[in-house]
């Protein structure tokens, strides 16, 4: 089972200033890890740092099954780690299935056509996110939430060991959000490492197995959800508002009441 190990990892937009730092954690396939924290706490930068995007500088190390991620070349990384940004533009002029097929790019040459195998994988991925019915629709004719699902399917069709998702649940309705986190749990059960940022603890049910809490660019806590969420005043301090976080029974969905004191 794949394993992603962070040691004093830090990332930022200039070599001197790290937007997020102090991340040391070990996350394994089979678990969903959520990155939470207020706006500007460095959640997105953390994911971008792992991907070593142009213009992003990083320190410390991330290793995937003992290979350092930062020294992987692009195509090696693309074969092992997939990434879903916060709000990718709609690739207009393409249908949903063509958009999903974009995810097969790392597995073929830069101009070759899609094989029957590629199409099968893409259709499977659309099916997994519950968007099969959109296959032949143009992406500019479907809603923002539906495009979100299509992009998620594109990421799945990349068939990687690790999937990084930046706010995957944003712009999804209750039903699709629940379906998304269920899907991420299922993927984790198949041994895939899932690392997702989110602002909405309550929208995820109890899909998280681990939580990384960021505050002002520092990793503040990492552990089981109950340890982080129920730690006295921790979330209230970080979000600078009284927070009540509850679970009606162990293992049930998390409920969050921002703005109300204990």
């Amino acid at each position: 089972m794949s394993e992603l190990i962070f040691q004093e990892f830090a990332a930022g937009y200039s070599p001197g200033v790290m937007a997020v730092s102090g991340v040391s954690m070990r996350i394994t396939g089979g678990s969903v890890t959520a990155v939470i924290g207020p706006n500007g706490s460095g959640k997105s930068t953390l994911l971008k740092g792992i991907m070593s995007f142009p213009g992003i500088h990083s320190r410390g190390s991330v290793t995937l099954d003992s290979s350092p991620v930062q020294s992987m070349n692009r195509s090696e990384r693309a074969g092992r780690i997939a990434y879903l940004p916060q709000s990718p533009p709609v690739p207009a002029g393409l249908t949903a299935i063509e958009t999903v097929l974009l995810g097969r790019f790392p597995h073929r040459s830069a101009w070759s056509s899609d094989t029957a195998e590629d199409t099968r994988i893409a259709l499977d991925a659309l099916d997994m996110v519950g968007a099969s019915h959109l296959a032949d629709k143009f992406t500019d004719e479907i809603s923002g939430g539906e495009n979100r699902l299509v992009n998620l399917a594109a990421v799945l069709s990349q068939k990687t060991e690790v999937i990084l998702l930046d706010e995957p649940g944003s712009s999804l309705d209750y039903g699709h959000a629940a379906q998304l986190w269920k899907l991420l749990s299922d993927l984790a059960d198949r041994g895939i490492v899932i690392l997702a940022t989110t602002h909405r603890i309550e929208m995820s049910g109890n899909a998280f197995d681990k939580v990384l809490l960021l505050s002002e660019g520092k990793a503040l806590a990492f552990g089981n959800p109950e340890d982080v969420f129920l730690s006295k005043d921790l979330l209230s301090r970080v979000y600078k508002t009284p927070m009540k976080v509850r679970q009606s029974s162990p293992g049930s969905s998390w409920i969050v009441f921002p703005g109300s004191s204990e």
């Binding site: 142009p54 940004p85 533009p89 063509e98 995810g103 790392p106 040459s109 830069a110 101009w111 990349q158």
Partner: protein, 310 residues
């Protein structure tokens, strides 16, 4: 897709036949007219049309802007300024060097655009704004050149800006050939990469595309294609806008289909525009740039109103 391809091939073949047959043949040497006037003209129209269409096609993906044309990079302004300057100065250069100067100006302008955009990390909006700046700059310099020109030269400059396919012999076709190959080959090898540029840069990057290098390579290919065409036939507008959009409607946005079909579509549009330019006010010729602008202006407006698919 098949129907579009067949229609384009039919239009191309009939266009070539009609173009060969259009116009007076001269009593003495009809064979010479066809071989040294009509045929090179047809080849030039095909090569320039394909170049401009593919150039626009590439830029619309890389700049992620449906209204991008080869001129978004400042190419027409650059070519206009150098050609205008040469015509004004009255230096009698070999014709080959006049073409070359148009191309050099076009490439210089797109390089300038690239460096101005450097401050904004050369993302799509930064490049577009830089291109607009370079175009404005070029237009004002050209205006100055026109103001300083004596009337006879002014006519020449304006006539050059309108585009011209009237040639004798194969020199201009041969001139354009290396640009066509140098731009077209890398573009066709990157049609899958162009598809990746339709989505977020970071998504493309995460799928293994070296976005910085590929963007530069594709911009160079687009500039080389348009620069060569501008040098050979003058700054003819709108082929790079009309063709990719029409093709997108017909065959969708997948660049593995779109790019080759746009090349064919560009050739067809240019061929037919050239035929019209020769018959509309026959026996005189209407400059091809005038016809394409008359076609392109309303089309541009249509795109603005209709919110096109990229």
């Amino acid at each position: 897709m098949k129907r579009t391809l067949i229609s384009l091939v039919v239009l191309a073949v009939t266009g070539i036949a009609l173009s060969l047959a259009t116009g007076p043949l001269g009593l003495n040497a009809p064979g010479q007219v066809i071989l040294f006037l009509r045929l090179p003209r047809i080849l030039l129209a095909i090569a320039a049309g394909a170049s401009l269409a593919v150039s626009g096609c590439i830029l619309q993906a890389v700049l992620r802007n449906p209204l991008a044309t080869p001129y978004t990079l400042g190419i027409s302004a650059g070519a206009g300024v150098t050609a205008g300057f040469i015509i004004l100065s009255g230096i009698s250069l070999p014709i080959f060097l006049v073409y070359l100067s148009g191309t050099a100006g076009a490439l210089a302008a797109s390089t300038l655009t690239w460096f101005i955009a450097g401050r904004s990390q050369r993302d799509h909006s930064g490049l577009i704004l830089a291109g607009v700046t370079v175009n404005l700059l070029g237009a004002s310099v050209l205006l100055l050149i026109e103001y300083m020109s004596p009337a006879s030269r002014l006519v020449e400059i304006i006539r050059w800006m309108m585009g011209d396919l009237a040639i004798a012999g194969y020199r201009r076709v041969l001139f354009l050939l290396p640009f066509l190959v140098a731009g077209m080959v890398p573009a066709i090898m990157r049609t899958g990469t162009l598809n990746q540029f339709l989505t977020a840069t970071e998504m493309a990057e995460s799928r293994g595309v070296n976005t910085v290098r590929e963007r530069l390579l594709l911009l160079i290919a687009a500039a080389v294609l348009a620069g060569g065409a501008v040098g050979a036939v003058g700054p003819i507008g709108f082929v790079g806008l009309i063709v990719p959009h029409t093709m997108r409607r017909l065959v969708g946005g997948d660049y593995r289909r779109l790019l080759p079909l746009s090349a064919l579509g560009g050739a067809v549009l240019m061929l037919w525009a050239d035929i019209f330019s020769r018959v509309v006010i026959s026996p005189a010729e209407l400059p091809i740039g005038v016809i394409l602008s008359l076609l392109g202006g309303p089309f541009f407006l249509y795109l603005l109103v209709k919110k096109p698919r990229l």
